[in-house]
Symmetry: C2
Subunit: 207 residues, 2 copies
């Protein structure tokens, strides 16, 4: 495409460098931005300057944070002996939204994926092992995606930790709440039968 302005071209290129945004939609976004007030556009740019300079990672759980330790790890009412292992901040947010978890997290910052060249040393598995070695952790919950990469990562962590005196669990896989049985895929349905739970415990009520 031929742009009449280098400034527009650069803004379009930058937006189009983000995943799933093409040049055509990037141009549409840039044009919509030009209708904004200067201080709004300033604020837009500032957000990404801040993203560059102010972002920190919690030294306990590796979640993105504004401080050295995140608000979850800092909270004295969270159970530090129960650690939920997740891929990234989005999973933390999703689990926090359920209000069902009172432990702390360990954010891997990725998932083992040979296809994308991500190996065990690229994510925070070593730091998880260290944390377990300190002896305060009693249970590890693996809350990873049900993909080949998620399963691989989970198995790798399980193998690293199975000798330790902690319990390691996987989040339950089964039929989603609200799903109709006939539309469930057979692997999920099969697993949900294999991993059936006693009826009086099946609605998540404490035993």
């Amino acid at each position: 495409m031929q742009y009449s302005s280098k400034v527009i071209e650069e803004a379009v290129e930058q937006l189009a460098s983000l995943p799933s945004i093409g040049r055509r939609s990037a141009l549409r976004l840039v044009l919509s931005m030009l209708k904004r007030r200067p201080e709004e556009m300033e604020r837009f740019a500032q957000a990404f300057l801040d993203l560059n300079s102010k972002i920190k990672y919690c030294k306990e759980c590796h979640n993105i944070s504004d401080e050295d330790t995140c608000s979850i790890c800092n909270n004295p009412r969270r159970d530090k002996s129960l650690v939920c292992v997740v891929e990234d901040i989005r999973d933390v947010m999703a689990i926090e939204n359920t209000r069902q978890f009172n432990g702390v997290y360990h954010v891997l910052g990725g998932i083992i994926s040979p296809m994308e060249g991500i190996g065990p040393s690229d994510i925070t598995i070593d730091s998880l092992v260290e944390k377990v070695n300190k002896g305060t952790v009693k249970e590890i919950i693996l809350a990873l995606s049900t993909t080949m990469e998620g399963d691989t990562t989970g198995f790798f962590i399980f193998r690293k930790l199975k000798e330790k005196t902690i319990s390691i669990s996987n989040i339950a896989r089964g039929i989603s709440v609200g799903d109709e049985l006939e539309y469930a895929d057979e692997v999920t349905l099969g697993r949900s039968i294999l991993n059936r739970v006693p009826y009086d415990n099946s609605y998540g009520v404490a035993k």
Copy 2:
């Protein structure tokens, strides 16, 4: 959603303020950005600072430009007596890509849309009338979208200029090149029959 970092939240809010980007995809984009090198993120933010401070509009045609006059209006080989009226820079780029037009443009910067509160005075129609009044323009081509708003805007301009001694044309509406007749909608097909052109001129060959 609960973010563990205000910096992330602000970046997500800013991206999600763009049309057709929701908070969930905005978060995905922000996380992908965090994997970049600092200088790349700096460059991203800089592009939008520049967009704020460096953007200019050509004083002849109102197209977005880096200079006071755009490269098309500055080009001595472009025919200044032939003016193509378009909505925005995207239409200029689309027509330039055809390499079929050697005149200059007049960019309205929008289209009359009562639904969005855009009236004739919000776009550069007055400046177009002024340009015509100077007497150098011989023909105006209306190249607007075939929507109700486009037609309204075209009709408004036509009424403003019909007393002047210039010819005003509309771009041809008809069956797209490569389209099969049976799939064309009836309004388009009907118009293409009403506006039929002599066969020896129908492939755009000069008479």
